[in-house]
């Protein structure tokens, strides 16, 4: 019997009777991170990292939550479970599961570059590694974060010169906080959409020392924003909400911006290939570091990635999960994120 099975509700450990990131309600769920395609409502019990807990409370409401720190083992029916930094977003964890000397690791989403706020990805030795493969093709090779931040800052400066507002499209959880860091050093006020604001507040309330932002409300004077910065989630892109910032330029922060066609389809003025997922090299490096005898690829270009691993002498298979279709792309992610943001919008009286 495999230690982790791929069931129709999600990754399932029969021995410990728990699920990892289930997409249907279950009794016991271990959550890698608070993005809504991994953290779904309706389960009776949630286990996550301390940093993830306030985010789950924000997004899923009142539930039974238990949280642990990095590498603090919990035993569930004799199965040893521990969480290790995945570097994806704040609180994102890989789940290490050990029983009878056999070790499996479910990566959740991860990136190998340390972005300064999401923690540094920790390679964990295991027998079997379940890896994401969102960007599992060699065309995905990220520039260094510092270089992309320079590009973003130059773009903002140019917009300022052209008397345009810079509207940066970034997921409200993760990417928004990540781009806020360099932007806050530009000496310009940073305005945020309500969905970004909610996450920001939840993080500040749980002790994060984040740069100051201003929430855009119907009362915010239009003139105040000219030439300044607005951070908004994908769901706000192209909606009447943006009219207020006119004249503006839209910059989209997403790994999908690596390919021109995607940027053109989004009708965005500037695309920044800034991703919270590992690129091709990052995925290969992570897989090799685990020393796993068997790898399951999911969540992206799993067919190509697992075929490549097999050719490299690493036994690999592909697994379909509901974290995305066969080739999850920006739309799926955007829609999922949109829904999350819309929930946040609905929860507010005004945006």
């Amino acid at each position: 019997m495999a230690l982790i099975e791929f069931s129709d509700k999600g990754l399932y450990c029969r021995q410990g009777n728990f699920y990892i990131d289930p997409w249907k309600p279950v009794d016991k769920a271990i959550i890698t991170h608070a993005h809504s395609d991994h953290a779904r409502p309706g389960s009776k019990y949630y286990l996550c990292h301390h940093l993830t807990k306030p985010l789950l409370q924000l997004r899923l409401g009142d539930n039974v939550y238990e949280s642990v720190g990095w590498n603090e083992p919990v035993f569930i029916d004799g199965v040893k479970v521990s969480l290790h930094p995945a570097g994806h977003i704040i609180g994102a964890a890989q789940i290490r599961v050990e029983y009878n000397g056999e070790v499996w690791v479910a990566s959740g989403d991860y990136k190998t570059e340390n972005d300064g706020i999401s923690g540094s990805f920790e390679p964990v030795k295991c027998n079997v590694f379940i890896t994401e493969s969102t960007f599992g093709l060699p065309i995905y090779k990220w520039k260094k974060q510092a270089d992309i931040f320079d590009d973003i800052k130059n773009w903002v400066a140019q917009n300022k010169e052209d008397k345009k507002t810079s509207v940066l499209i970034a997921y409200s959880l993760g990417k928004a906080q990540r781009v806020l860091m360099p932007l806050s050093k530009m000496g310009l006020p940073v305005y945020v959409h309500g969905a970004v604001w909610n996450v920001h507040q939840a993080l500040v309330n749980s002790g994060w020392n984040l740069p100051e932002v201003i929430r855009v409300t119907p009362e915010t004077p239009k003139e105040d924003m000219v030439g300044n910065i607005v951070i908004a989630p994908p769901s706000a892109d192209g909606t009447p909400w943006m009219k207020k910032f006119y004249p503006y330029s839209v910059g989209t922060c997403s790994g999908w911006m690596q390919v021109r066609g995607n940027a053109r389809r989004r009708n965005t003025d500037a695309g920044f290939a800034l991703s919270d997922h590992a690129d091709w090299e990052g995925l290969l490096q992570a897989v090799k570091a685990t020393g796993a005898e068997k790898v399951f690829a999911t969540h992206g270009f799993q067919a190509a990635f697992s075929r490549y691993l097999n050719e490299q002498g690493i036994e690999a298979g592909e697994v379909k999960t509901e974290y995305g279709g066969e080739e999850e792309d920006n739309k799926t992610e955007a829609i999922i994120e949109d829904q999350a943001d819309n929930t946040a919008i609905i929860n507010e009286e005004n945006v």
Partner: protein, 557 residues
């Protein structure tokens, strides 16, 4: 080169026409003259020939980074553009020091021309060496130039407008001066735009005047008697030119096609010196008698273009004629500014004098009121035409696509309901999305593929279909997915011809998706017999032979 790559980057990614114009103007303001000449050439379809085929090129790329063919293909199908795929896969240069030589655009293009006939090894050395010095954007542009494909979302019109602003000459004059037969490697920027040059190049065509589709009710066009109606013929718009005792045939795409149509050879001696006629290059059933001609489907003309040598068989099966619309130059004088009726009278005189079986004048359709013309229009297909052209009688011959004086009034397309059975990822802004579909009609309990279509849906609909394809793939053949036959679409098209190249026995002209029939089930689609019936009704006399011609505008399976 970096300057040009930056320009292409703005042109390819900007969503606003104004930003594109500004970028072009900036470029024309700062770039070297030699580079500017090349930019004009590139954006007016005068690219250098491809110097290496894309299979060899991607082989070199795979060799450098050490990946297998299948993985390269996966990448290519995801990116949807070969140049971009290679640029993304190749490593970025380690250090771009001040010592790295910054070659100009013209240096690269002229090197292409110089090494065009050299062995592949020579080309390989030059190309790989260049790659090593270039950033991603430059590599992308460089590869686009090498492979000869260069479509990046900027029209010739936009380039002309930007150039006009930066040299302060009107766009219509620029459009004329940069037309015709000039070699960017041999032409200086100042000469290209000078008045003298236009006078010494005898081959130079005039920019074509193009019409928009009729927008509102015809009644808003005011008095019927101010308008001339003609049939809209479905061939290739062209100009025939007789100057300096020489003869030239240009297509609207500004391709010199003189050699392709031996039927026109005799025009050279018959046309008066200093004549330029605008008209339609079109296949006509032979023989035409007393000026009554019968157009063959566009598919016939297709067997004639895109091939170097024309066989006797093709000449007999698809003879080509010229239907004259307008006279632009008369006895060496540019008469485009004169009212159309005057130009028409002179044109009638010329054509009448020549009396050549391949040269006809586009007949005027008599009508007294719009309703009558509307009635006449319903007979377009029987005439072998695709609708009606309306031209204001006192109109000058303008430059480019303009509203007001000329309108095209096409007939409604033919339609058929079909089910999608294959899907493939698209290119450009549709990269990594399944947007290219193959459709089938019913034949008993079998599904027979009969056309492909790529356009007609909104972005939102494409996203929905893409999602469906990803979840309902039955089989994978390379980039093609066999899809559960469930989605029904109405396919609109302009014409239908018999074809023994196609499994269905028909080839469609301009097929596209006109409607997503969510109200219809796959068993309610049209049948192969319905298609054959249309074929019988609209034209039966012409068949595309196996392996004939290129697939310009006609769908092939």
């Amino acid at each position: 080169m970096k300057q040009f790559a930056d320009l292409v980057n703005v042109l390819g990614t900007s969503t606003k026409t104004n930003d594109k114009l500004k970028a072009l103007q900036n470029y024309f303001a700062v770039a070297a003259d030699k580079d500017k000449t090349w930019v004009i050439a590139i954006f007016s379809g005068r690219r250098p020939k491809r110097i290496i085929n894309s299979t060899i090129l991607q082989g070199w790329c795979r060799e450098i980074i050490g990946i297998t063919q299948w993985l390269f293909d996966e990448c290519y199908h995801t990116v949807g553009d070969l140049g971009e795929t290679i640029a993304l896969l190749l490593p970025e240069p380690e250090h771009r020091t001040a010592f790295t030589s910054e070659h100009t655009l013209s240096y690269y293009l002229e090197t292409f021309i110089r090494i065009e006939k050299e062995a592949d090894e020579v080309k390989k050395e030059f190309i790989i060496d260049s790659w090593q010095q270039m950033g991603r954007n430059e590599k992308f542009v460089f590869i686009k130039l090498i492979t000869g494909g260069f479509r990046i979302g900027v029209s010739q019109k936009m380039m002309v407008n930007a150039l006009a602003k930066s040299v302060d000459i009107s766009p219509s004059i620029i459009a004329h001066r940069i037309s015709g037969n000039w070699d960017p490697a041999e032409t200086a920027f100042d000469n290209l735009l000078s008045e003298d040059a236009a006078n010494t190049d005898f081959s130079k065509p005039y920019p074509f005047y193009l019409a928009y589709a009729v927008e509102e009710d015809l009644k808003s066009l005011a008095e019927e008697n101010q308008w001339q109606a003609e049939w809209k013929w479905d061939g290739i718009r062209g100009q025939v030119i007789k100057r300096n005792n020489d003869f030239f045939v240009w297509s609207r795409g500004e391709e010199l096609m003189t050699e392709k149509f031996p039927e026109y050879n005799e025009f050279k001696n018959m046309l008066p010196e200093g004549t330029v006629i605008d008209g339609e290059i079109i296949s006509l059933a032979a023989p035409a008698q007393d000026g009554i001609f019968r157009p063959l489907p566009f598919a016939a003309l297709q067997t004639r273009i895109g091939r170097k040598n024309i066989t006797k068989k093709q000449l007999t099966e698809a003879p080509v004629g010229f239907i004259a619309y307008d006279l632009l130059e008369y006895l060496g004088e540019d008469i485009r500014y004169r009212p159309m009726v005057e130009r028409r009278a002179l044109l009638e005189e010329i054509i009448g004098n020549i009396h050549h079986p391949a040269l006809h004048i586009s007949p005027v359709i008599p009508f007294t009121n719009w309703d009558e013309l509307r009635e006449v229009r319903t007979g377009s297909r029987d005439m072998g035409s695709e609708g009606i052209m309306l031209k204001r009688k006192d109109s000058p011959y303008q430059v480019g696509r303009k509203r007001g004086d000329w309108w095209k009034w096409k007939i409604d397309p033919l339609t058929i309901d079909a089910v999608m059975i294959y899907a493939q990822k698209g290119h450009g802004r549709r990269s990594n999305l399944y947007t290219d579909y193959t459709f089938a009609v019913k034949d008993g309990d079998k599904l027979i593929p009969f056309t492909k279509a790529y356009s007609g849906l909104t972005d939102k609909e494409f996203a929905q279909v893409d999602n469906f394809v990803k979840r309902n793939s039955l089989e994978k053949f390379g980039p093609v997915r066999t899809v559960k036959p469930a989605l029904v679409f109405e396919i609109a098209f302009e014409g239908i011809a018999a074809s023994n190249r196609h499994k269905s026995g028909v080839a469609l002209r301009f097929p596209r998706m006109s409607r997503w029939r969510t109200d219809k089930k796959p068993d309610e689609i049209n049948t192969l017999d319905d298609l054959k019936e249309m074929l019988k009704t609209y034209n039966a006399q012409y068949t595309i032979e196996a392996n004939d011609g290129s697939a310009l505008n006609t769908s092939t399976i």
